[in-house]
């Protein structure tokens, strides 16, 4: 593939895979926690949290990226603290691309997990409790296995969204080859130069292949899990 794709395209592809995997993996526990709060708890600020989670879905990505820059930039409220105390810099680094992708994909992940949580029959959890299972044990042995298809669907959606993220990423971490130039950014860059169209087209094909593979894999897994948790 090295001859077929220019080196900077290969770098972008590797970076994109890395960013999307990290973004998905890191947001999974948070997505599960937020989905559980939204599906199972009623508290003041429930609507606010729901709105906040969905914000990246309805805001223009550029706005989300700019807000991230304000908050997580070197002089931002959180970014400044992260830099001073932990020595972590997000702006204009690949780690920032992970954050941008995770934030943009978060609503999709939460939505999928929440739907599957709401589909779990609470009577099964009651039965488990009367059989001696603590709340944590009920979650680990009944709830979690039953929402596995939803978790998987959430992860795949989140991965796909992270893989294709453009607006928030370019605003927050810019377009630095080898650092923050993900696949969509690379395609955009190739399209800016007259002889880049071929490379862009090849990258488009690669991204289609990756998307289809992810979807197919998740379908396969989801069907097997659904059969298992359906008791058949």
């Amino acid at each position: 593939m090295a001859g077929w794709l220019p080196p900077e395209a290969l770098t972008a592809l590797a970076l994109s895979l890395r960013v999307s995997l990290w973004a998905t993996g890191l947001s999974l526990p948070f997505g599960l926690a937020v989905a559980w709060l939204l599906a199972r708890r009623r508290f003041p600020g429930h609507g606010l949290l729901n709105g906040l989670v969905h914000l990246p879905l309805i805001l223009p990505p550029v706005v989300t990226g700019y807000l991230l820059l304000l908050a997580f930039g070197r002089r931002g409220v959180i970014g400044g603290w992260l830099h001073e105390v932990l020595g972590v810099t997000l702006a204009f680094r690949w780690t920032g691309a992970v954050l941008a992708a995770a934030v943009m994909a978060f609503p999709l992940m939460v939505r999928a997990i929440r739907l599957s949580l709401e589909a779990v029959d609470p009577r099964l959890e009651e039965a488990a409790a009367t059989l001696g299972a603590s709340r944590l044990a009920v979650f680990a042995t009944v709830t979690l296995p039953l929402i596995l298809p939803g978790l998987l669907a959430g992860a795949v959606l989140s991965f796909a969204k992270a893989f294709g993220e453009f607006g928030a990423t370019i605003t927050f971490v810019a377009n630095i080859p080898g650092q923050t130039q993900t696949l969509p950014l690379a395609i955009y860059t190739f399209l800016q130069v007259p002889e880049g169209e071929g490379a862009a087209l090849r990258l488009v094909l690669v991204s289609i292949a990756i998307a289809m593979t992810a979807l197919g894999l998740s379908e396969l897994l989801a069907r097997r899990i659904a059969r298992r948790v359906g008791g058949r």
Binding site: D121, R123, L124, E126, A127, A128, A129, T130, L131, G132, A133, S134, R135, A137, V138, T141, V142, P145, L146, R228, V229, G230, G231, R232
Partner: protein, 353 residues
């Protein structure tokens, strides 16, 4: 010994009762609050006030004690089996074992044998029939080694043959485990066969509580128990089999005959429904009925509304109930102290002992 004294506004409950060992039936019409009481005992719902004790305090609004369900050691079998769909039958059965502090009251192998679920252990739960699933749920609850077993109308969702199967299983489990059980039911035949103590609930209040035989023969409760369905229990012992195939059972009031083949010497309880007794002033002659007993009228309780009268009879010390019409009662001039003959049109075996 389970002691319950609870009050709540939604659902409307205000009652107290005690359940000594054995099987206690919570009996009453649907909507009476039976399931709500059960959920409070299990810890799945919290009453506004009161206390619940079963060997040790589980809930006490005065001290703020409210043990969560998993620490109460009270297992529950619900109307629907509630098997975990992601686990096999065997894994469902053993689910509670890892949390149990004690050994179950019955070895697993014996339990599987009683429930007849050996052949289905490797199956997935979705392939089970309703009766099979409910038997697995029953086994799962017992293997969790509870100190008290709650049964929330576990047979209502089943057809008659399946119901009979579960009833037989429950009888054997009751006798072999000695586990105290609280059974919610609105079917009197379940109560009569399984329970030793009866707690009657109406509109979230206690109507009556006591040994099953006493309450069944209480004419004041006959209407609540369902009129003709009310009735008494007669204790007897199988004497032997006559050449024509009938089995003789000796009771305090005299011999009775049943068509079933029974083992001689076995003690049993016979149920006589109030609607299955005909009264006669003189010993009837030329009647096809076999079982006729001399009895004495002890009380007459007319229905509040309707043309029925519940007659309480003394049958050599054992109480019997008969349901007749007010018109017959007047025509026969029945009064307490009058000796009459009771013609038993039907008898059923309520259980051993």
């Amino acid at each position: 010994m389970l002691e319950v004294a609870i009050r709540s506004s939604r659902p409307d409950l205000d009652l107290a009762f005690a359940a000594p060992g054995g099987v206690t039936a919570l009996f009453g019409p649907s909507g009476a609050g039976k399931t709500s009481i059960l959920r409070a005992v299990a810890g799945l719902a919290t009453p506004d006030a009161g206390r619940i004790h079963s060997d040790r305090p589980l809930f006490d609004s005065a001290t703020g004690l409210n043990l969560p369900p998993h620490r109460r050691r009270i297992a529950c079998v619900f109307q629907e089996p509630r098997l975990f769909p992601h686990l096999s039958v065997a894994a469902n059965l053993r689910y509670g074992q890892r949390f149990a502090a004690d050994r179950p009251s019955l070895p697993e192998a014996r339990l599987i044998d009683i429930l007849g679920i050996g052949p289905i252990l490797r199956r997935r739960t979705a392939t089970l029939s309703g009766g099979e699933a409910q038997r697995v749920a029953l086994g799962r609850a017992i293997l969790a080694a509870p100190r008290l077993l709650l049964l929330d109308e576990p047979m209502t969702a089943l057809d008659a043959p399946r119901r009979a199967e579960i009833m037989t299983c429950l009888e054997r489990l009751r006798d072999e485990t000695g586990l105290p059980m609280l059974l919610v039911s609105h079917a009197l035949d379940e109560v009569v066969r399984l329970a030793t103590t009866l707690v009657m609930i109406e509109g979230g209040r206690l109507r009556a509580a006591g040994p099953v035989a006493d309450l069944l023969a209480d004419p004041a409760l006959a209407e609540t128990l369902g009129g003709r369905e009310a009735g008494a229990l007669l204790a007897g012992r199988v004497a032997g089999r006559d050449p024509d195939g009938l089995t003789r059972i000796d009771t305090a009031a005299g011999p009775l005959w049943l068509p079933q083949a029974l083992v001689p010497g076995v003690a049993m309880r016979l149920r006589v429904r109030a609607g299955d007794i005909t009264l006669a002033l003189t010993r009837p002659e030329g009647l096809s009925a076999l079982n006729i007993l001399p009895v004495t009228v002890t009380a007459l309780v007319p229905d509040g509304q309707g043309p029925g009268v519940t007659v309480r009879l003394d049958c050599a010390g054992a109480p019997l109930l008969a349901r007749i019409t007010a018109r017959s009662c007047a025509a026969m001039a029945l009064r307490p102290g009058l000796p009459v003959w009771a013609v038993l049109k039907a008898l059923s075996i309520a259980g051993a002992g």
